[in-house]
């Protein structure tokens, strides 16, 4: 394989981070989080290609994806609860822990 996927991974990671830091909607934060996750998964698979052990890394990637599904489920449940409580998805409404 001649295409180097590493720049793509970085771009994807940077987009996810940018999304997390700048967006205020909880759903958009979830999208940013997912972008980070996908970048990481891609990095794992690419590492397997580079090291010549694709089977191992791909199985790890599968595991990561399935765990991410759980994370998304829990995240969405929390967001749903928050929304029911505050009728809002804005992170500016989540400042009760300010010191």
């Amino acid at each position: 394989m001649s295409v180097n996927l590493l720049p793509f991974v970085f771009v994807l990671f940077g987009l996810g981070l940018f999304c997390l830091l700048t967006r205020r909607s909880l759903v958009k934060l979830l999208i940013g989080l997912e972008l980070l996750g996908k970048a990481t998964t891609l990095a794992i698979i690419w590492a397997g290609v580079v090291r010549g052990t694709p089977a191992t890394t791909q199985s790890i990637a599968l595991l990561v994806i399935s765990i991410e599904a759980l994370v998304v489920a829990v995240y969405l449940a929390l967001v749903y609860a928050f929304h029911r409580h505050n009728q809002s998805l804005d992170t500016d409404d989540m400042r009760r822990l300010k010191g």
Binding site: L20, L21, T22, R24, T91, M94, R95, L97, K98, G99
Partner: protein, 628 residues
């Protein structure tokens, strides 16, 4: 039985008694006094036979802490005399207590403490090293404190106990300091080692040691200026104040001075200091006794005064004369106190102004008291005469003219107050005192504890009379023992003149001191005969010093003032510590933790984006560190 074993038993028996008495009290309280008397008798008999059969210098040693501390018994006449006095006076106290303390509460405590006291005194005298001496010294101190405050429900008795304890502690600190300095120097607590090693010390250090010993003796023997505790100690039952304190414990200081006289001899000024302390005490005590109206206080001040003579004798290097007088004094003062106890027991007051004409009611007590008083003022052929003249003679030989003058004035005053007390109590009419009525009653006389004021004197119980007769006889005869005493001293290598009783008589009557003391007695007699004129003078003039003398010359006021200042200083230190230091630490801790929490609050933005930014930055830093 060897002398060593006997010496050991001498103080172990009273200690065993002190331990056993409270136990026996659980199931047979009525036996307790008799049991205590038995223990007292046993140790006094041993002491009596020990004095006769001592081999010269027979020390025994026991390893108390093997390899570190070795203690032993020192049996020589110097140490056996206080032991003999302690056990015998103690035994007499116990017998006398059978009648005197009958019906009081807490008798087991009383008898246990008396026995413990006897054991402490004997142990102190027989110790061959400073550490054991100090230990028993403190045992005595604790017992005396407990016994003075025996009627602890009376606040005055409790206060007197605390006062005695604190005042003697001042001396104890000096003694402990001296002992520590000597022990650091020589690495041992033993007398003999330390006396040898003391010469190697620098003079200032040696002076400190000597001063510490003198301070210890001054505290325990109620010498000027720490004499204030002894008159207050008269709150105790007469048996205790009289015999334990006035006749026994106060000898400890004189014994200590005699024992450490080799060290004192190395410091030129220390003996002069001792002379002056003794002479001033003799005069002060006699003066205060002459202006007191409390029978027991008169005798207490008189004891202070007589101890002054003994200290003076040690100061001129005549330890033997001092011990000889100590021996005589223990007898006649014990007699006087026992008589006083019988009087107080009978009429329920200690104020001599309310007494008078008691000769008719208690002739035996009156006659024996008179004998004791004559011995006290030094009438020829009584024991006090020989021993006091012996001291004065030694003072003349020592060339201490200043102290001698004070001692002679004190002798005149002694004659005066001895005559005054005897005649006012036993022969005078019950009437207001001849010169003190206009004075403020410095000493508020409590009713003698539980006894009711009685117009008709009680009869004196027989077990109180027997010791009186024995002691009165001893007043006539005890000076005959001077021969054996001086022989024993010389035999154990202590400095003493070789004297037999006959030589003592010849020496005494041919000496300058005899004339001096006769003059002093004559002056005292003159003062006594002129007492009506004196009374008028004092009534009209009321000199300030008389007022002061009736209040103990202001020593108590001075010490109270000092104690108040010390307490103020303590309060101030406490205030600074609490309000400034501790409160400051508290405030700083509060301020610092508040500031830190404010700082750490800044980390807690509550904003998920800032948190994420920090997380990212941290990851970048960590990554950078790992890669670099």
């Amino acid at each position: 039985m060897t002398a060593q074993l006997a010496g050991l038993l001498l103080f172990l028996i009273p200690f065993a008694g002190a331990l056993l008495v409270p136990l026996v009290n659980f199931f047979a309280p009525r036996v307790v006094p008799w049991l205590a008397v038995l223990f007292g008798l046993a140790s006094s008999l041993i002491a009596f036979f020990l004095l006769g059969g001592t081999p010269a210098g027979a020390p025994i040693t026991l390893d108390i802490l093997p390899g570190f501390f070795r203690s032993g018994l020192l049996l020589d006449p110097l140490s056996l005399l206080p032991a003999l006095i302690a056990t015998w006076i103690g035994f007499l106290v116990l017998i006398y207590s059978l009648g005197y303390m009958k019906g009081e509460e807490n008798l087991a405590r009383y008898y246990a403490l008396v026995l413990l006291f006897i054991g402490g005194m004997v142990g102190m005298a027989l110790a061959d090293n400073f550490l054991a001496l100090f230990f028993f010294w403190e045992v005595m101190g604790v017992c005396s404190y407990q016994l003075i405050a025996f009627f602890y429900k009376d606040p005055k008795a409790a206060a007197a106990g605390a006062k005695a304890f604190l005042t003697t502690k001042i001396g104890d600190i000096g003694l402990l300091a001296a002992i520590i300095i000597l022990a650091v120097n020589s690495g041992s607590f033993s007398f003999s080692v330390n006396f040898g090693a003391a010469a190697g010390l620098a003079l200032p250090v040696l002076g400190l040691v000597a001063f510490g010993f003198i301070l210890g003796a001054v505290g325990k023997s109620a010498q000027f200026p720490l004499h204030v505790w002894l008159p207050d100690a008269m709150e105790a039952p007469t048996t205790i104040s009289a015999l334990i304190h006035a006749a026994t414990m106060v000898n400890a200081g004189v014994y200590l001075l005699a024992r450490v006289s080799p060290v004192l001899a190395l410091v030129p000024w220390s003996l002069t200091l001792v002379q002056w302390i003794g002479a001033i005490t003799a005069l002060l005590g006699a003066l205060l006794a002459a202006f007191s109206n409390d029978l027991k206080r008169i005798l207490a001040y008189s004891t202070v005064s007589q101890l002054g003579y003994m200290v003076l004798a040690v100061g001129v290097g005549a330890a033997f004369a001092s011990q000889f007088h100590l021996f005589s004094h223990a007898i006649f003062k014990g007699l006087l106190f026992l008589c006083a106890g019988a009087v107080i027991h009978a009429i329920g007051t200690r104020d001599i102004r309310q007494m008078g004409g008691l000769y008719k009611h208690m002739p035996a007590v009156a006659i024996t008291f008179l004998i004791g008083a004559m011995a006290l003022l030094g009438l020829p052929f009584l024991n006090g005469f020989f021993s006091k003249d012996f001291i004065l003679e030694e003072v003349i030989l020592g060339g201490a003219w200043g102290p001698l003058a004070l001692a002679l004035i004190a002798a005149a005053l002694t004659a005066f107050y001895a005559l005054r007390t005897t005649f006012v109590v036993f022969w005078g009419k019950p009437k207001p005192a001849f010169y003190q009525d206009t004075l403020p009653r410095a000493i508020k006389l409590p009713q003698a504890f539980s006894l009711p004021q009685a117009t008709h004197p009680h009869k004196t119980p027989a077990n109180m009379v027997v010791p009186l007769l024995a002691l009165a006889l001893a007043c006539f005869l005890s000076w005959l023992l001077v021969g054996p005493l001086s022989e024993a001293w010389i035999a154990s290598g202590l400095p003493a003149p070789a004297l037999s009783a006959l030589e003592l008589i010849r020496e005494t009557f041919s000496s300058l001191a005899f004339i001096f003391s006769l003059t002093a007695i004559a002056v005292g007699l003159f003062l006594f005969l002129q007492r009506a004129r004196l009374a008028r003078y004092f009534h009209e003039q009321e000199p300030g010093w008389i007022r002061a003398a009736s209040r103990g010359l202001g020593f108590d006021d001075l010490y109270t003032w000092l104690a108040d200042r010390i307490r103020d200083f303590g309060d101030w230190v406490l205030m600074v510590w609490e309000e400034r230091v501790m409160e400051g630490i508290n405030r700083f801790a509060a301020w610092a933790s508040l500031g830190l929490s404010r700082l750490s609050c800044l980390l807690q933005t509550g904003d998920v984006h800032w948190n994420l930014l920090y997380v990212t930055l941290t990851l970048i830093v960590v990554l950078g560190v790992v890669l670099w």
